[in-house]
């Protein structure tokens, strides 16, 4: 358990750094946030002065306020005129749903492809699947998303345009009725498919190569010599050992998919954090941007810790 404690402590250290860095990063940005906030508003100079006084507090004082409540240090989102945390709360769920679905699907399908290909290296399946997944991997996500949108939403030639072009719900349908849930799943299909295809290759390739490493190990020869069926050798002995790098990858990716979803969410007008950060940058909405940056960084750090701990739990060798 010493290992786990060490990992968690390192992770906390990273978080502390992120917290401090994030605070100063956004104070280095040029521009007057107050003139952004008040653009198009009729405010007299007295009111502007009051707002500026709020922002011109000593940095030390601001920093303490930020530490006490890093996600909304007293300043509202300039776009939504609401506390930053409330705004993020509205947008976090669609991202989580998309993220979990896409990660689960791409990991399951990717691992399956990797196992099949790695076990029969050089087979037609192996060659085809490696080619296809690498091609998908090379495609920019937004482009892939756009292609899927045109093929399966608009519909071209033989391709059926059955999926909606964006959003999570058809207006007017009660979201938690049976129809509403199905409607939401229907809306989820294309964005989830895009992310799944985009992330598939990584899992397939990592799984394939780590399985290839295991195939050459002596214990598999022993297993076969005992007369075990090929399938059992694969399932009981080779795969569990080969899975470890992929598991690490799954967790690491969770951290990155949050931010990687930005382009896909933009293509499909999926109202998640990716979209929100895009809007925050367009503003720019500095308080919101700062909170989103912090959230994304923390997601990566936490995912890292979880990955390390999970691998340690599964594989005693790394605990030392």
């Amino acid at each position: 358990m010493g290992y786990v404690v060490r990992r968690v402590l390192t992770g906390l250290g990273t978080m502390a750094f992120v917290l401090v860095f994030n605070f100063f990063l956004f104070r280095l940005l040029p521009g007057d946030p107050i003139s952004l906030y008040t653009r198009g508003r009729n405010m007299d100079r007295e009111q502007l002065r009051e707002l500026r006084r709020e922002l011109n507090r000593p940095v030390g004082e601001q920093f303490l306020g930020y530490l006490a409540n890093p996600f909304s240090s007293g300043v509202d989102s300039t776009q939504f005129s609401r506390p930053v945390w409330d705004v993020i709360g509205d947008y976090v769920w669609p991202t989580l749903v998309l993220l979990v679905t896409a990660t689960a699907l791409s990991a399951i399908i990717g691992i399956a492809i990797g196992i099949k290909g790695g076990w029969r290296r050089g087979s037609t399946f192996d060659r085809t699947s490696t080619g296809v997944t690498l091609t998908l991997y090379a495609m920019p996500e937004f482009w892939l998303g756009m292609v899927l949108l045109i093929l399966f939403s608009t519909g071209v030639g033989v391709f059926p345009g059955v999926f909606p072009s964006g959003g999570t719900l058809t207006p007017g349908i009660e979201p938690w009725s049976v129809e509403g849930v199905l409607d939401q799943a229907w809306h989820l299909t294309l964005p989830a498919l895009t992310l799944t295809l985009a992330y598939l290759a990584e899992y397939a390739l990592v799984m394939r190569s780590s399985l290839l490493d295991e195939v050459r190990q002596d214990y598999l020869v022993t297993a076969r010599a005992k007369g075990l069926m090929d399938k059992l050798v694969r399932r009981r002995h080779a795969v569990p050992n080969a899975l470890l790098p992929t598991i690490t990858l799954v967790f690491l990716n969770i951290g990155f998919v949050v931010s990687g979803a930005i382009t896909v969410e933009t293509v499909f007008s999926w109202p998640g954090l990716g979209l929100l950060s895009y809007q925050a940058i367009r503003g720019p909405d500095i308080p919101l941007l700062q909170a989103i940056f912090l959230l994304f960084s923390l997601a990566v750090v936490v995912a890292n810790i979880v990955a390390d701990v999970a691998v340690a739990a599964l594989d005693p060798r790394v605990r030392t």
């Binding site: 040029p30 521009g31 007057d32 003139s35 952004l36 653009r39 508003r41 009729n42 405010m43 100079r45 009111q47 502007l48 002065r49 500026r52 776009q79 939504f80 005129s81 609401r82 509205d90 947008y91 669609p94 699907l105 399951i108 756009m146 949108l149 939403s153 608009t154 519909g155 059926p160 345009g161 059955v162 072009s165 964006g166 959003g167 999570t168 719900l169 058809t170 207006p171 007017g172 129809e179 199905l182 409607d183 799943a185 229907w186 299909t189 069926m229 399938k231 059992l232 969410e265 933009t266 293509v267 499909f268 007008s269 109202p271 979209l275 929100l276 895009y278 809007q279 367009r282 720019p284």
Partner: protein, 621 residues
């Protein structure tokens, strides 16, 4: 064991999805006749009219609430809304509005003059309330409801804006519970009965980042709209928005980029509508940056303080080429700062316009003493303070706008042709605002959208609206050229008190003439608002102004009240595409079948895999 379970689960999920292919499109088709869906690229920032600032939010306010008077659909002339008539005293200081009788709020409560007086008094007295509406009430001394049907307003000085008070009348019985402190955080999100208002529609649902759904207000005092449901869907990607229009998910798209707009050419059932619009782009000059008290600031090039240089540059900019090559032809070459869309107010220089003529530009510069040096770049005239300094200007463009960057490139090329060096730089709008405020620029490219009332636009050229100093720092104000002219300021003050529209228009035109002559701006073009809609489904749009202004996002809710579904009769008339609708029906049937078959195969395959995997496990155990 866990793996087969997972595959089975995946199969179940897929199977569960299947009915949607059929269910989704079937329900969609039934509702389509009465639901009008608009695609837009900007979410509503707040439904509280005291908080929101983006144009999509204002569209919701005017659909949900009424104002006293409206800007007319045909020509922006004032017309009755909640106030059915009005009177002004001879001295122009007392305005009496007669409120319609029998008007009900959407929750059934009566709307009276007291609600009107309540709203205006709230705006006049509330600091926060003034941030959005203060500019409309600054001249008002008092507002009083003398009975249920009469509102009397007293003004400090005669004012031409009393028939254009864009203050949304709010129900007192709802808003009196939201005090001055609560109002800043009040989101005004719709409850089960929607947002209580008196406008033609009621906001029923707001799914943030996704859509806003409105229903027809059955208590509306005017003629009820033909459309029962009105949905605004938010797209963050213009290409997706165009796809949704092709697909028929939305019926209207507004403010499209010219590439996307062109891509809709020939799309079945879609009509493209390049509407003339009230926005313009300009090349602005730093005509001598100074604070509002006259203290010089910044480091603008001295040559640009010379009106003759600015006029020469005006001759060197080919506005027609900009319209063709930057806007793809969707616009009009620019002249004065009030667009021709407002035909009563627009100043047309006619024969005295600065025609594109590089030779004339060069001649004017030579004449003024800015002769070319040995390297072909002109210098400041001999004998002056900066004699020999090169005419080398910084020209700033905006990173967020393709149009801006292209304009900058063209202008830089043209100026080089007449011996002026240009250093283009692209910056964010945020950074540009700051640079402008401090006066550390020579030229920049930006634009304005002009309201039907010219006051605000004209105020951006007054001496008082130059940058100001507060606590040691310099802050930007409305002026971005630092233009300051006594005669202009006097005319500005004069038009503020001219009630007679024709008289005021005269003053406003004279102000534009001064601006055109002094040339703090070269107005490059008035761009079109590129709109497209499903003409196979809806008809009856009314442009503001006639004949080719915007169809939606107008001043007022004119089009929303006149749009109606296309009927069999319209089709018999032959104009609107009947074919498209029929095609849609057959193809969606085919598509559904294809989806069901495809999905079924997929799910079947997964189940098979799951079953096949389970077998060996039994064998061993």
């Amino acid at each position: 064991m866990p793996r087969p379970a997972l595959s089975a689960a995946a199969a179940v999920v897929l199977l569960a999805l299947l009915p949607l292919g059929t269910g989704g499109s079937a329900t969609g088709a039934e509702d389509e006749r009465t639901t009008f869906t608009v695609g837009m690229s900007q979410d509503v920032d707040s439904l509280n009219p005291f908080t929101g600032i983006v144009s999509s939010a204002y569209e919701m306010y005017q659909l949900n609430y009424d104002t006293l008077t409206d800007y007319g659909q045909a020509d922006f002339a004032a017309e009755p809304s909640l106030a059915e008539s009005w009177e002004v005293s001879d001295d122009g200081l007392t305005w009496t509005y007669t409120i319609r009788s029998g008007v009900l709020w959407s929750d059934g409560e009566p709307l009276t003059a007291r609600d009107v007086a309540y709203t205006f008094n709230r705006v006049m007295k509330g600091k926060y309330e003034q941030t959005n509406f203060g500019s409309y009430v600054g001249q008002i001394a008092s507002v009083e409801a003398t009975d249920d049907q009469t509102v009397v307003m007293r003004v400090k000085a005669p004012s031409p804006t009393m028939l254009h008070l864009f203050v949304y009348i709010l129900p007192e019985h709802i808003w009196r519970d939201i005090d001055a402190k609560d109002v800043t955080d009040f989101t005004n999100e719709p409850g089960p009965d929607g947002i209580v208002g008196s406008g033609p529609f009621v906001v029923k649902e707001h799914k943030k980042g996704q859509f806003i759904r409105l229903e027809r207000n059955e208590n509306y005092w005017g003629e009820k709209p033909a459309i029962q449901n009105l949905v605004f869907r938010i797209f963050t990607n213009e290409d997706s928005l165009a796809q949704a229009l092709r697909r028929g998910e939305i019926d209207f798209a507004d403010d499209l980029g010219s590439n996307v707009f062109e891509s809709l050419e020939g799309a079945e059932g879609v009509t493209q509508f390049p509407a003339t619009y009230s926005g313009f782009d300009e090349i602005a000059f730093n005509v001598g940056a100074a604070l509002d008290d006259g203290t010089p600031i910044g480091d603008g090039h001295p040559a640009l303080k010379d009106q003759r240089v600015r006029v020469a540059i005006s001759h060197a900019i080919d506005t027609e080429a900009l319209v063709e090559r930057v806007l793809g032809g969707h616009g009009t070459p620019g002249t004065s700062v009030i667009p021709p869309l407002y035909q009563d107010l627009h100043y047309d220089p006619g024969a005295s316009a600065y025609a594109f003529d590089p030779a004339e530009a060069a001649r004017l510069l030579d004449e003024a003493g800015y002769t070319e040096g040995p390297d072909g770049i002109r210098t400041m005239p001999a004998g002056g303070e900066d004699a020999g300094r090169k005419l080398s200007f910084r020209l700033l463009g905006r990173a967020s706008s393709q149009t801006s960057q292209q304009s900058v490139q063209f202008v830089a090329g043209w100026l080089e042709d007449i011996g002026i060096e240009v250093k283009p730089k692209i910056v964010s709008e945020d950074a540009l605002t700051e640079i402008i405020g401090e006066g550390t620029f020579d030229m920049f490219e930006w634009g304005w959208v002009v309201e039907p009332d010219p006051d605000y636009q004209l105020s951006t050229f007054t001496c008082a609206n130059r940058s100001y100093k507060d606590g040691g720092s310099v802050f930007a104000n409305l002026s971005d050229s630092f233009f300051c002219d006594e005669e202009y300021d006097a005319l500005y003050a004069q038009q503020k008190e001219q009630i007679d529209p024709a008289e005021r228009a005269g003053t406003v035109k004279e102000m534009q003439r001064i601006l055109y002559e002094q040339a703090p701006y070269v107005v490059t073009f008035y761009y079109d608002n590129l709109e497209a809609y499903r003409s196979d489904r809806f008809t009856g749009f009314t442009p503001q102004p006639e004949p080719d202004g915007s169809l939606l996002f107008q001043y007022g809710t004119h089009s929303y009240r006149s749009i109606r579904p296309v009927t069999a009769e319209d089709r018999a008339d032959g104009k609107e595409g009947t074919k498209a609708a029929d095609d849609d029906a057959t193809s969606s049937g085919l598509l559904t079948t294809a989806a069901v078959v495809g999905g079924g195969l997929l799910a079947g395959g997964l189940v098979l895999v799951a079953l096949r995997r389970r077998r060996p496990e039994h064998d061993v155990e």
